[in-house]
Symmetry: C2
Subunit: 201 residues, 2 copies
């Protein structure tokens, strides 16, 4: 015997395609699955196919949407349709929602520009964003991670979105709340100082 | 919206139960699944339920067995039924097979003793091994990782297997082939020297 039984090997191969899961981890997960009750494995298996069958993308903001045409946020009348917060991925929507600082709608790009890894503008949901500008939009907030890909995507979009009457903005960089001045990195501190707020004039 | 759609959250929760997969990785995998074609997800889902339905454990050696009662190795007449190589897990069977140094049968414990992590003797396939000693077995090779758990399991089994006429052995410790003497750790070198072979007498 020079390999595993075919039905086990198939599962190892399929799990090995998961992002961040190598052949060794895939094997470990497959062995773990073999030790689980059948109903647990069936539940996972059904959950995955159900998700693919029931979940799609919101036709407006491109976030995940359970059923129908629009996601709960886009179909909520209380959300301000004039401001769009553009984010990289669905978890970012949850993060901004937790801040309670934003009452507009979102647009999920499903990635950030990274030409070296093959993520060019046509791989992102940028066309869908452009289409939305025909609506009552007055401001677009580019809310990305403060890293190279985030800055590149913000730069690209800010040029693309040069439309009369449209404000394109970015969240402030600066010291994190509760952060120690002593331990702030140079770039953060430099941006915090150049973006200082006037308290009294 | 303070959370993901239920069908997505269910998949994230289920994937988060995998060994070595935390909540962040589970989320990453679920998002990746959402980007895959439905047929790919269905294939994985079917592979897992098929595996659970078709794969069980060999009634003799406790290794995985596709169908029927015995695994291909146990049902192979050419294998020497007098020698049993006891290993921790199915990958170890493949490793020993690759060495082509062993022609007997195997016994898979599905773990090594580790009382601190709750792995006590009754959690391992030890009773199944004891039962096999009623057959024509003359030697048991305890072939475990050369670490604390491996040594503890070998120690425990060597005491348990004190049966008249039964040889209990362990593979030699020593310098790995192609290994540099200079970089060998103290314990390996010490075992290599105390277990030295006589070349000429």
């Amino acid at each position: 015997m020079s390999s595993y039984p075919p039905s086990l090997q198939t599962v190892v191969d399929e799990l090995g395609r998961f992002p961040g899961v190598g052949p060794k981890s895939a094997q470990r997960i497959a062995f773990w699955l073999m030790r689980q009750p059948s109903e647990d494995v069936n539940r996972l298996s059904t959950a995955m196919t159900d998700m693919k069958a029931n979940l799609s993308f919101c036709s407006q903001c491109c976030n995940f949407a359970e059923t129908g045409d629009l996601c709960p946020l886009c179909s909520d009348d209380r959300r301000d349709q004039h401001v769009i917060c553009v984010v990289e991925s669905p978890p970012d929507v949850l993060a901004v929602e937790r801040s309670r600082a934003f009452t507009g709608t979102y647009h999920v790009l499903h990635g950030l520009l990274n030409p070296l890894e093959g993520v060019t503008p046509d791989r992102l949901r940028i066309q869908e964003l452009i289409k939305r500008l025909h609506g009552p939009v007055t401001e677009v907030i580019l809310c990305f991670n403060a890293n190279l890909e985030g800055d590149a995507t913000a730069m690209y979009l800010s040029k693309l979105l040069q439309v009369p009457g449209l404000v394109v903005s970015q969240p402030a960089n600066g010291l994190p709340v509760g952060g120690d001045l002593e331990f702030a990195d140079d770039l953060t501190l430099s941006r915090a100082i150049s973006g200082r707020r006037v308290l009294a004039d």
